[in-house]
């Protein structure tokens, strides 16, 4: 455990600058919007507050591509590969800080945005109480955030896989990485479609939707399948171990 913590600490230190810079930029953006809530329409600053969420998957892509490229570039891959650690330990030390950063920063951003726009949200709930119940909003937000986290980890692991596959080739590594990245997404969609059948037995998430009709307010329950979440989790775990295996046993330095 001590060795794994030591590896994670090393990774965090390597990510230091990126974490600090991106956090400061996002904090500055949010602060700017908060100071504008009085002057701008609140819906505008609320919406703009989520813009960094669109960039964070790109940061994950950069982190993943750089996770091993920087080791190869500085020859420190020698140090990593001769450690008496399993491939999954080395890879976990890479994935964990990046994902923790993604989770904490995106979560904090959403919470800050919700907190500073409570007035706007209260007003929205009052104006359309039947359409947008607090509970429904929270449930949708939670599911959307879960999907967002899955997207981040998916981008990270596929990018990492693409880079590791490209190391098998001496030339055109970037091009090969891009091709593998695109192909991997396609294959995951195809494989995911088949795997979906295997997890159909899982219970779905029920969501109550209230709609206003001429006859009054009616409640409808919709179900969001949990199988796709399970499928993507299985694929991501598989990809994590595949990347670990590629690193430990298949790629040359």
């Amino acid at each position: 455990m001590k060795s794994l913590i030591s590896l994670i600490k090393k990774e965090v230190r390597q990510l230091n600058i990126l974490i600090i810079v991106s956090t400061l930029i996002i904090a500055a953006w949010e602060w700017f919007l908060i100071t504008r809530t009085e002057n701008w329409p609140q819906g505008l600053s609320f919406g703009l507050g989520f813009i960094p969420l669109f960039f964070m998957p790109l940061i994950m892509l950069f982190l993943a591509y750089n996770s091993y490229r920087s080791e190869w570039g500085a020859n420190t891959i020698y140090l990593l590969k001769i450690l008496p650690r399993r491939g999954y330990e080395i890879n976990f030390a890479k994935v964990f800080p990046a994902f923790a950063y993604y989770l904490i920063l995106s979560g904090a951003l959403i919470l800050v945005n919700l907190y500073f726009h409570q007035g706007f949200l209260e007003q929205a709930f009052r104006q359309a109480p039947e359409m947008l119940g607090r509970e429904v909003f929270s449930e949708f937000l939670l599911l959307a955030y879960l999907s967002y986290l899955i997207t981040g980890i998916q981008i990270y692991l596929i990018t990492q896989f693409s880079y590791l596959v490209a190391t098998f080739f001496n030339r055109f590594r970037l091009l090969i990485s891009i091709l593998v990245f695109i192909l991997s997404h396609y294959l995951i969609l195809r494989i995911g479609g088949f795997l979906n059948y295997l997890f159909n037995w899982l219970p779905d998430f029920p969501l109550s939707i209230f709609t206003e009709t001429p006859a009054g307010v009616s409640e409808t329950t919709i179900y969001i399948g949990s199988a796709p979440f399970m499928v993507i989790a299985v694929i991501m775990i598989g990809l994590f171990f595949l990347n670990s295996r590629l690193l430990a046993s298949d790629v040359d330095v």
Binding site: K2, S3, S6, A74, T76, Y78, K81, I82
Partner: protein, 233 residues
């Protein structure tokens, strides 16, 4: 300890356009200092990297201390690569701590003792070290472990003669022949020759010779350096 610490059978490796190793069969005796010599591109480093798990072999078998390479984690091997493989943003103290946390057989006390002998300071940043200082630090990190197999790939490359002597003296001073085996690939055979117990000649990915150094000198009536000159010219 076994008679042979490493046994290699039919080891092959091909890189694009070049067959780096052409089916090497080799036994490396335990408790000795084995020197692997050969010209540039002969396959020395490739072989050592395969033993250390840095490169994947195409075919063949490697048995280290009766354990198959596939089951072998790097706990039994201390490898010193030719290049600077250390994190340049770390200080020497941080690198020592990192090694202490990663290797159960690493002794921080021994490392500090060796650092003093090598004229290195804990607070120095690796990025600011000269090539010779990095070479000395790499050696400190390897020798502070009590690994059964110590593999040194060109530990003297690019080092000034005075430092080379110091490095070799440290190496021999720390060598525990009861429990350790050293495998040394080097071009600097003049300095290293007197310390070698066993020599292996490799050229074009093929094993030319593997013999006890003293037996070879007695049999041929020549120094290893002279023999190398004859074999590789």
């Amino acid at each position: 300890m076994n008679e042979n610490i490493i046994e290699i059978k039919g080891l092959k490796k091909k890189f694009p356009g070049v067959q780096a190793l052409k089916g090497i069969d080799l036994k490396i005796p335990a408790g000795m200092i084995t020197g692997i010599v050969g010209p540039n591109g002969s396959g020395k480093s490739t072989m050592l990297k395969i033993i250390s798990g840095l490169i994947v072999k195409d075919s063949g078998q490697i048995v280290i201390n009766r354990k198959n390479k596939e089951q072998h984690l790097m706990q039994d091997i201390a490898f010193l690569p030719e290049i600077n493989h250390l994190y340049k943003w770390m200080t020497i103290a941080e690198m020592i701590k990192f090694h202490e946390e990663q290797y159960s057989d690493f002794s921080a006390a021994k490392a500090e003792e060796l650092l003093k002998f090598m004229n290195l300071k804990l607070e120095q940043k690796i990025n600011n070290l000269s090539k010779g200082m990095v070479a000395r630090l790499k050696l400190v990190l390897v020798l502070s472990r009590s690994a059964e197999v110590v593999i040194l790939d060109e530990p003297l490359a690019g080092i000034d003669p005075a430092s080379r002597e110091r490095i070799l003296e440290t190496l021999i001073g720390e060598f525990d022949s009861e429990n350790q085996t050293i495998i040394l690939a080097t071009h600097e055979i003049i300095e290293a020759e007197r310390y070698l117990d066993h020599v292996i000649f490799i050229e074009n990915g093929e094993l030319l010779l593997s013999a006890n150094a003293d037996d070879l000198r007695a049999e041929k009536g020549k120094s290893i350096r002279e023999l190398i000159g004859e074999v590789f010219e």
